[in-house]
Amino acid sequence: MNEHSVVVKDLAKRFGDFLAVDRISFEVRAGEIFGLLGANGAGKTTTIRMLAGLLRPSSGGGTVGGWDINAQYEKIKKSIGYMSQRFSLYNDLTVKENLQFFGGVYGLSRARVEERTAELDEALGLGEWLDRRTAALPLGFKQRLALGAAILHKPAIVFLDEPTSGVDPIARRRFWELINELAAGGVTIIVTTHYMDEAEYCNRLCVMHAAKIVSLGSPAELKARHGAHSIEDVFIQLVRGA
């Protein structure tokens, strides 16, 4: 499988005098788990916002799911999923109602939402929680539900922003098991995180510093290239040394 899900060429974004993203280029294969790492202000968020169709590039461009990020951003917005650490779940609604609500946002028919809810119930193991208020869910289940809401419309590309902050290690492993299943089914995953342990789950990592890409490769390649034992050490070397 060699199909590219995301292609970015010389992508740049300038806010006034500030160059937030400076002519970056990379490609992500369909079904790849791709990590975007960087300190605050490195340009990650701006990059993600451009890829998600929320922000227009100043120059350069690319495609996301085959759609042009300069011209077809409305199409992009409908074909991606986005899950943030500050999940936008409604605490007063039940789990099922939250999924119905997001189904409405994505413009899915009632029948389709029911079908997808049943599928997600099985995939995410929401089971006994479906009719409970979201506020009562343990954090690990909230994260699964937030993922469910982000993939309700079966997007080909899912963006995850620090998806597992704060959960215990077993809940984190279960979450990544779901992500691996999605990726194995061909969904492209783009993740940003400050948890360097989480970065190890990625097929490839792209480290950004001061608006540029400073290293790109698999976790093992990055560790070998920079003579480090952990991704955290790679990161610190790259950012402090740069």
Partner: protein, 306 residues
Amino acid sequence: MSDPAIRVERVTKKHGDTVALSSVSFSVAPGEMFGLIGPDGAGKTTLMRILASLVDPDEGEARVLGFSVRSEAARVREAIGYMPQHFSLYSDLTVAENIGFFADLFGVPKEARVSRTKELLEFSRLGPFVKRRAGALSGGMKQKLALSCALVHTPRVLVLDEPTTGVDPVSRRDFWDMLEKLRAQGVTIVVSTPYMNEASLCGHIVFIHKGAILASGTVGEIAGLFRGTVFAVEGPNLQAIAARLKDAVEHELVRILGDSVQVLALAERRVEVGTLIETMRHEGVVSQSREIPPGVEDTFVSLMRE
């Protein structure tokens, strides 16, 4: 052996029906970097609030430098610097004004204040930003300013609740470097973190989960509690390898990483898992496999299951 800087004895705390802490005991030696490691909801914050004498335990006792957090709360508060998870800096005040405000709060005498502020600005490297409003600082710099404010009265004990959460890894490392300097000067530090890999920066760690202590010791001692083997397995199809391993052990013991599958073969399953990997190697499903040292998270997972 000198008296401990902090002694916690059978502390229990309930919030309604929820048990936040269940008969927790430990002590912290003077000048120690003591890490509380655990996920959200483990009880870390409740424990820190008790140490800061902000809430009383329902049962048990905690003493800081010999002072009871129950009956000598005022003495405890003088002795410690406390940085809550959501610390309140005044975002409209400058860096210098924030430090000045906390100096007033803690009654730092006028003559000591100038030299202390200078020391803190040098220590935190916030000197160049002294006139910047706190609201305009980056996340990492805000954290350094909050630490400076907690240090304004030169406390001998620091209690820091998740000071590095949400901060990027480089700012986190800078912050830990600052803590290490304080520790070297003899300050006793209790610090909590959800980042398992920060455990290695502490002299002594406690794993805390669901209000109870899972393990306590140096990083080396805790790693020694891991009973089993971690295998890193590679092959052309990681999903297929993981599926076979999940037939043998619980799902959460198998994880697919970017370029390998890692499986925790806990004590009684070690031979079984080893044999399965060998079988897959003969079948060509596995191209290579090696044992790797357990990480802090692996140990935490194995202890959670006991």
